[in-house]
Symmetry: C2
Subunit: 123 residues, 2 copies
């Protein structure tokens, strides 16, 4: 008889940092949100990002984000049902978090390049 652990809904502590990390504190979620900020809307577009998120992880993260209210999805066709994902205002409020992470990465993680720098290299 195994009793369940902390339910996914219960925060680890009242700390706002901990509460945020309960939702977005893993290796993939913020990368999906980054893609959404870049205007990506469809499953295949997220898969195409260079980090190579596994398909099952992506599907699970998208439904989690939708249930948490950071992302909303609207069908852009039915039969077969397909939908486009986009950030809600709640999700868009993460912009400063992404910006701070990006700034830190550029300063302290060697080999990182912004989209602009990568685009400039191709030219």
């Amino acid at each position: 008889m195994s009793r369940s652990r902390r339910p996914a809904s219960a925060p680890r502590s009242p700390c706002p940092v901990a509460g945020s990390l309960d939702l977005i504190g893993d290796r993939w979620t913020l990368l999906v949100i980054r893609d959404l900020f870049w205007g990506k809307t469809r499953y295949g577009e997220f898969l195409a990002s260079p980090e190579g998120i596994p398909t099952n992880i992506l599907a699970e993260r998208l439904t989690r984000l939708e249930m948490a209210g950071l992302v909303r999805s609207a069908p852009y066709q039915r039969r077969p049902p397909r939908h486009a994902y986009e950030l809600t205002p709640k999700g868009r409020d993460l912009q400063p978090v992404l910006a701070a992470l990006a700034k830190w990465g550029r300063r302290h993680v060697p080999g990182t390049k912004t989209r602009d720098e990568l685009a400039a290299e191709k030219a």
Copy 2:
């Protein structure tokens, strides 16, 4: 015969967000860094935080952060060897990330309270 996965040292992509998350994108690392910002320096102090980080995870995170140059530790006594941890400038540069996460959490994660609010309740 199992081929090895991505080595821990190789970033998933040149994106600075991805590069940052490779180092600090998990459920615990940023909470340890938060504690360091609050002035905690010793193993037992991190363990005492309300989130309840497991002991082995804490030990592993501290050595990882030290190897990554975000944290430095200095012995405050020898025999038995004990050391105090503190943020390096590289670690301190994460302050905007923590601040953005805290701000988002306070706005969007119900039930979160700042340290000031929690302190005020006790009074």
